[in-house]
């Protein structure tokens, strides 16, 4: 204990001094300080009254029967706990299995979602390649048969104009604009103000027109759209012919 103490530090020793729990060294220091300090003596007297009050308060004790019955009741509760099927230990051991399984499943799902796509060929490019393949095969077949193919042999073209009504709800805005002419009332079996239509183009469905009208609306990606723009007139004409032949 330090030789020089302030009053506040010494106050910490007062309760132990009053209950006899203070060391001899600390007690000597406190006794000396009590002789010198009125404030410390007043504090000591007040604390003495408090501790005497506490000392004189008696708390009701349980009977001896209580002590005799405690152990059997503890054993009863232990047995109840053990017989209970639910156990946190079981849950904890279950987690040891569930967590790795969940982690593996999560990794598999993430891999499936974020797996790399072949960047070389887009879906649209694949479609164009397939179309080209089909058309070239078609040409070979036709040549070998020596028969001129029917122009505009699409199913839709074979239908009368009246039956070529299209469910507007199924179409997007661009397509709906394109269909306005189709829905106009017929005069003498002909459409009013009908513009001269290229026979080849007549076989192309309204949806097909929208493909060229707006690549985005037709679901083409930017890359494919740009590639279409790069084509010159001859290449474009050739592509249209190919598309006609494969009934797209």
């Amino acid at each position: 204990m330090k030789k020089n103490h302030n009053i506040e530090e010494l106050k910490y020793l007062v309760a132990d001094h009053l209950t006899g729990l203070i060391s001899k060294e600390d007690n000597d220091v406190l006794e000396k300080a009590l002789q010198d300090s009125v404030e410390l003596r007043e504090f000591r007297d007040e604390m003495k009254r408090t501790l005497e009050f506490v000392k004189n308060v008696k708390i009701d004790e349980p009977s001896s029967n209580y002590w005799n019955s405690l152990l059997p009741r503890i054993h009863q509760r232990i047995e109840e706990n053990e017989s209970s099927s639910f156990s946190w230990d079981n849950i904890a051991s279950l987690w040891k299995i569930l967590v790795p399984v969940a982690a593996i499943l999560l990794i598999a799902i993430i891999y499936y979602i974020a797996r790399p796509v072949d960047p070389g060929v887009t879906k649209d490019e694949k479609t164009i390649e397939e179309i080209k393949k089909d058309s070239s095969q078609d040409k070979i077949e036709k040549k070998s048969e020596g028969v001129t193919p029917k122009t505009g042999n699409t199913v839709k073209e074979e239908l009368p104009i009246e039956n070529r009504r299209i469910d507007k709800k199924k179409l997007n805005k661009t397509d709906q604009k394109n269909i306005v002419k189709e829905e106009a009332p017929l005069i003498d079996g002909k459409e009013p103000n009908q513009e001269p239509v290229n026979e080849n183009l007549a076989s192309i469905d309204i949806e097909e027109i929208s493909v060229f009208g707006s690549g985005e609306a037709a679901g083409l990606d930017e890359e494919t759209e740009n590639e279409l723009k790069k084509l010159n007139d001859n290449q474009l004409q050739s592509l249209i012919q190919d598309l006609e032949q494969v009934n797209l």
């Binding site: 209950t19 009977s63 405690l70």
Partner: protein
């Protein structure tokens, strides 16, 4: 107590006995420490029924954890630590309880031939003290009980509560001071 196994064997032997599968070791530990554990809890929670329930919980915990007890601290300190922690948790749950029912105490010891006036006075004094102790934060309450009633040294209280000795001394000082402030004016000394 003659023939009491707890007096023959020390704590380590009782623990070893329990670990080897002999439940008598555990039973003796309960018998040996049940009163101390009960009073630590009772002084904290003040109500007999709560103290009874928590005492049972403490010994159930001891039953499940004793096999893993490595005797780094002595059994007595370990028991006090569990009892104090359970009491502090209980106090946090209930937060405040204004009254402690004497009627709830199971079979209290008969008060003898005291006059009824004295009994009333004693009852009032007890309630004043309980109210004063209830104003203490849980840790100060634990320190006050362990130091004042159980007369434990500061380093042992520090080990039980896991706090520094300096902090424990300060807690004890403030607890006594606060009790004094609460009872001041309510009763003539």
């Amino acid at each position: 107590m003659k023939g009491n196994i707890a007096n023959i064997y020390n704590d380590s032997e009782l623990i070893r006995q329990f670990k080897s599968g002999d439940v008598r070791g555990y039973n003796e530990i309960v018998r040996k420490y049940q009163k101390q554990v009960y009073w630590v809890i009772r002084k904290m929670v003040q109500d007999h029924d709560d103290a009874d329930d928590i005492t049972q919980e403490v010994f159930i915990k001891v039953h499940s954890a004793l096999k893993d007890f490595r005797e780094e601290s002595n059994l007595f300190t370990w028991l006090y630590r569990i009892a104090t922690n359970y009491s502090i948790n209980h106090l946090k749950k209930v937060k405040t309880r204004n009254t402690v029912s004497v009627e709830m105490v199971a079979e209290p010891i008969e008060s003898g031939d005291k006059a009824s006036d004295e009994q009333i006075d004693e009852e009032q004094r007890r309630k004043i003290l309980e109210a004063a102790i209830e104003t203490l934060p849980a840790q100060q309450r634990a320190v006050f009980n362990l130091r004042y009633y159980d007369r434990l040294p500061y380093d042992e209280i520090s080990e039980i509560l896991g706090k520094s000795v300096g902090g424990i001394k300060a807690n004890y000082f403030h607890a006594v001071k606060k009790i004094g402030e609460c009872i001041k004016g309510k009763i003539e000394y």
